[in-house]
């Protein structure tokens, strides 16, 4: 893990912030934009499909409805024509003589009420004119017996036949496009019942206009064919006759009602068919689905621009939002970087989102603690150095040496040879242990030896004003301790407890291991101390001028610096009863070396 990280590191700073692929801003921008774009695209596709399908269905439905409407109108129209035919037929039937003026008048009136009624005529089955309304001059060369209305009336006498639209060439005047209704009927000519063909011609214009108005899309149209496939109406009739256009009529005959897609002409066409009852004409609507595709293309274009706008907006938004989020983090990162470079004093930037603010606050708090701890360490190091200097100084305390040597002189003058030897040799050993090759940690045994020599000297000096006892557990003997911790306490006991008391003093020193702890006790039966004095001693303000130089306070501090807070001195004292000082240290015998290092 570590190695690739280190390899990446020198390259990273060369990239500008915004191009770092792993930066929060890039990740947020890409994810946010990507997700939104994906969603928008999916939604667009779905909407497009739905819209285009609906558009298509609507278009087809619309076409069907239009054709349905045309069909409805045509059926209505055909019904009207049939009714007229029935009226004409009835009037002829009721008249005893077809040549009567009354009938002619009635039919003329009827003709005037319906403007699309062109003419009414009655022919003998041989084609001779019996009756015609209006009474216009007939043309020559009409060839009426060859015309479809005549033929169908002869072939199917009972059926009212509708001819395809044709030019009426019977009467002089205009040539009109008409649809002919014809049937074989019976009429009375001067009482005699005869058979004849009744022809009612109706103007084709109404149907033509109705069909012409049908527009299915921009290019769609409708056409009408009769039962036999003759064209009744077609907007491009002449092109079809000229063979330039072609309508695929085969499938049309299969349908009476329905819709299908015809692809026979290359371009797909949507065909809708309805049949006009009862005459069997078929209305065929022709629409071009590619016009609907045009609608789809419009939709396509709309969706394209919609996507472009949305995606642009989303990307901008994503950049903005990610910048908003990552900016404080980047500030924080920069601050932390400066901390990493060793600047603990400037508090870091606090603003932005809640989380970032919290993070910054915690970080600031941490920074503060670090600063505190660093100050503390500096302070402690200074204290340690100072106390060590004190110890060093105490190792060669000139005041103690001067006092001791004075006593030796006095003893020598008195000729107390033995005591002089004892004092000198104790002094010598006292100093040897004091120095102990510069070590700060020694065994309890050595420490006790050191304090014993001190007591020997002091006892001679104070002319046996006190007695002492030193006890040591076997377990404690080899334990390690800071050196010169007992001597200041014993010195304190002598100066403050025993020196001024009238009776003989007693000092008891013991060392024992209690569980994890090494406990050293110095007990005297001296004057005792007030709590105030005890506090003063511990705070270092009370100091005996003739002491060995290392204060009780110094002892306590050294122990705490070396071993920590739980260890140190404890005073128990009562006036006139004596004082007991307990020194608590960790019971260690093996880690002397390590401790040595820790101190220095």
């Amino acid at each position: 893990m570590k190695i690739p990280h280190q390899r990446l590191k020198p390259r990273a700073p060369r990239l500008p912030m915004s191009f770092r692929l792993r930066s929060i801003q890039t990740i947020i921008t890409a994810t946010f934009a990507g997700m939104t774009v994906l969603v928008v695209i999916l939604v667009s596709i779905m909407l497009y499909n739905k819209f285009s399908k609906t558009a298509e269905e609507n278009a087809y439905l619309n076409i069907q409805q239009i054709i349905e409407q045309v069909n409805y109108h045509l059926e209505l129209y055909v019904k009207g024509m049939q009714d007229i035919y029935a009226v004409v037929e009835q009037q002829i039937d009721q008249t005893p003589d077809v040549g009567s003026g009354v009938l002619r008048e009635q039919l003329t009136t009827l003709l005037h009420t319906r403007e699309d009624l062109v003419s009414v005529a009655l022919f003998t089955p041989e084609g001779r004119l019996v009756l015609d309304i209006p009474n216009a001059e007939m043309r020559r060369n009409t060839k009426l017996t060859e015309q479809s209305w005549y033929e169908s009336a002869r072939e199917e006498p009972q059926k009212l036949s509708f001819s395809p639209p044709h030019i009426q060439n019977l009467y002089k005047g205009q040539y009109k496009w008409v649809v002919s209704l014809s049937r074989m009927i019976e009429y009375r000519d001067q009482g005699k019942v005869k058979r004849g063909i009744l022809l009612v011609d109706v103007n084709f214009r109404t149907i033509d206009e109705l069909s012409r108005k049908v527009s299915l899309g921009k290019q769609g149209y409708a056409y009408i064919i009769d039962e036999l496939g003759n064209i009744v109406y077609h907007p491009q009739q002449q092109l079809i006759y000229a063979g330039l256009k072609y309508e695929n009529l085969e499938p049309v005959f299969d349908y009476a009602y329905g819709s299908y897609i015809d692809k026979s002409t290359g371009v797909p066409r949507y065909i809708t068919i309805r049949t006009v009852q009862p005459i069997g004409w078929k209305i065929v609507g022709v629409a071009f689905p590619d016009e609907i595709v045009t609608t789809k293309q419009d939709l396509n274009q709309f969706i394209f621009w919609f996507l472009v706008v949305v995606i642009t907006a989303v990307v901008l938004l994503a950049v903005f939002i990610s910048a908003k989020i990552s900016q404080p983090l980047r500030h924080l990162e920069r601050s932390v970087q400066s901390v990493g470079q060793g600047d603990f004093s400037t508090p870091i930037y606090v603003s932005g989102a809640y989380e970032v603010v919290q993070l910054s606050k915690r970080f600031n708090f941490m920074l503060h603690r670090i600063r505190q701890l660093m100050d503390q360490i500096i302070h402690e190091q200074e204290a340690k150095r100072k106390s060590e200097l004190d110890v060093l100084q105490s190792q060669i305390n000139p005041h103690f040496l001067y006092n001791t040597l004075n006593s030796v002189i006095r003893l020598a003058e008195k000729g107390k040879k033995e005591e002089v030897v004892t004092t000198i040799s104790s002094l010598s050993k006292f100093f040897r242990i004091s120095l102990s090759k510069g070590k700060t940690i020694i065994t309890v045994e050595e420490e006790l030896e050191h304090v014993r020599h001190y007591l020997i000297i002091q006892k001679i000096r104070y002319k046996h004003k006190f007695n002492y006892e030193i006890q040591c557990d076997e377990a404690a003997r080899s334990c390690k301790t800071l050196k010169l911790i007992l001597q200041p306490i014993v010195e304190n006991a002598i100066y403050h407890g025993i020196e001024k008391m009238p009776d003989e003093g007693w000092i008891s020193i013991s060392a024992a291991v209690q569980g994890e702890r090494l406990v050293l006790t110095v007990t005297d039966n001296g004057l005792g101390m007030t709590p105030q004095v005890m506090d003063q001693i511990l705070s270092g303000s009370h100091r005996s001028g003739s002491g060995s130089g290392v204060g009780v306070k110094n002892v306590n501090e050294r122990i705490r610096l070396c071993y920590g807070k739980p260890y140190g001195l404890h005073f128990a004292s009562e006036l006139e009863e004596g004082t007991s000082v307990t020194i608590t240290l960790p019971a260690e015998s093996d880690h002397a070396e390590e401790l040595e290092r820790g101190i220095s």
Partner: protein, 327 residues
Amino acid sequence: MSLSKGIARMALLLAVVLLTGSCSSSPPNLRTSSGKPRTIDMIVKMNHGDYWNTVKMGAEVAAKEFNVQLTFKAPDNESDIDGQIRLMDQSIQNKADAIILSASDYMKLAQVTDRAAYYKIPVISMDSEVASARVKAFVGTNNYEAGQKAAERMVALTGTNSRIGVMNFVQGSKNGDEREEGFMDYIARFPGVHVVAVEYCQSNEQLARELTRKMLNEHPDISGIVALNEVASIGTGEEMQKLGAGGRVKLITFDSPAKVMELLQEGIVQATVIQNPFNNGYLAVQHAVEAMEGLDVPERVDTKSKIIDLDNMLWPENQKQLFPFVR
């Protein structure tokens, strides 16, 4: 790195989605309804008459089919050649996408036609040709052939030993000249058939009547007359009916106004040669669109002429052609 790959994939998806829409229309489709309509100016000889209205009707059907915005222009009169040239210049100025011209004069419209071609406007000549090599196509009747058809029927009616008069309309009119030429060439095969008179009525009905009377007076033994356009046909037919020459003198006409159809039924006119103005209009627009799209256009499109007589006038396909308007 996976992030950038994801972005690339997303872009690809986007591109695919956007492309599917635009790929659907691949082959050039004349019938296309999308986009701006093409503008085509149709300039014909006259702004009235069934013939030209039928041309217009055919052109409008095509215009709807091919998404064309059609402007139909014509002078009031066929002889207003300067008016037609003015209309051409107007269309060139308006930057029409294509021009369909039915030239009133073969030579005089040539210059303005070349000018249109210079401005990269394709010109389709319809019904009557124009003396310009820069015309993309000619859509119309083969007039020489129509003249021959008339002659063939005339010979069948009058026999191979007869005297025949010709009622032409305007000297120098390409159509008239070609019809006359076709007629004469066919007649020339029969040594017994003589063309005794050729008159020009200047597309004037009154003049046609006078010339007919003159022709019948000068040549009492005349057995057949051919009238080479609509106006000439009406004038000649009516005058013959008036003089009672109908039936005795056979008459073959051109075009099918209602008047002529009546005369046909009355037995004055024995047959009439009809053109197909609806198809002229339709095909002219269709080929104009093709020319605009850079497709190959046939140089000549013959919309067939047809002989109509009493026997075939009521055939459904002929009815629609003879009477294009439902009134």
